[in-house]
Point group: C2
Chain length 144, copies 2
DNA sequence: AATTTAGGTTGTACTATGCAACAAGCAGGA
DNA sequence: TCCTGCTTGTTGCATAGTACAACCTAAATT
């Protein structure tokens, strides 16, 4: 049991350390796209467009927060709004051409940073690490 | 190589997802101690006291940020300052009795949450996951 | 002694965030 | 039809976290 507690303690500590650094690191890498706006824009691309409400629900953010983030992305020309003809309350959000480019570029940078950090890992370890993270996040989502 | 890229992609995605949620989750769990102040206070306890400058260096924060965080913790009665008799510029920071209690309580809560999420993992997987996170963070620190 | 360096604080500005109040559009029932 | 209530989104307000620059004080160096 002591061994097990140690492992849990390390996992807690290291995930926390990572989280603490993540925003600042992301901001340094691509100042034009914060961790949050990057995530939102990526989700729009993934989903081929969605509503602000969907983003808020998915990321547990207040709708006002999403509204302002989207406004900022629109001001930068990274997102466009298309009013749903069937429901005039709804705006379906899409990345613009420019937004998609910026997203791809930031994504490539991020991916390169991860690739560098993981350069000396062998394939089996990478695969197991990825599986563990999936499993962990799945549990976190399940347990709230 | 495709397999390897997939693993890197998943690791990136899942670590990012975790980071996005971390602050809000911490805030919901113990509103009196944010992720940052929790971390700073824990470091003080760990180190049996240290200077504000040390905290700033360790966590890559501006000294003004640390100064204000410490002020807040002091206002709450969680931290006390002891002027170093050998160097009157220096204040060595220590958790107070109350600070230690709050830290222990928040720490227990956090630990419990992690324990719950990891409840159905077997010991070997936990140990490997912990080792992977240590290795990853070590690399991130090394590479900036 | 004069200058430089180190530790901290304070002024200013900006971003992210949530909550509450609001406006506009839709849907269902009296 | 019209009133009520729900959904989508925006805006006003407040707060936290953060950085940068200017500053103060004390120590160290020349």
């Amino acid at each position: 049991m002591a061994q097990r507690d140690d492992s849990v303690g390390i996992i807690q500590q290291e995930l926390t350390a990572f989280a603490r650094r993540a925003r600042a690191t992301a901001a340094r890498m691509h100042p034009e796209l914060s961790l949050v706006s990057y995530t939102l824009l990526a989700h729009l691309e993934d989903q081929k467009g969605c509503r602000a409400t969907d983003l808020a629900a998915h990321y547990l953010l207040d709708k006002s927060t999403v509204s302002r983030q989207i406004s900022a992305l629109e001001r930068l020309g990274f997102v466009e709004r298309r009013v749903d003809p069937d429901d005039h309350r709804v705006q379906v959000l899409h990345p613009t051409e420019l937004g998609a480019q910026v997203l791809a570029s930031a994504g490539a940078q991020r991916r390169q940073a991860f690739t560098d950090r993981l350069a000396d890992w062998d394939d089996a370890d990478l695969e197991r690490f990825a599986a563990y993270l999936l499993r962990y996040n799945e549990a976190q989502q399940r347990l709230g």
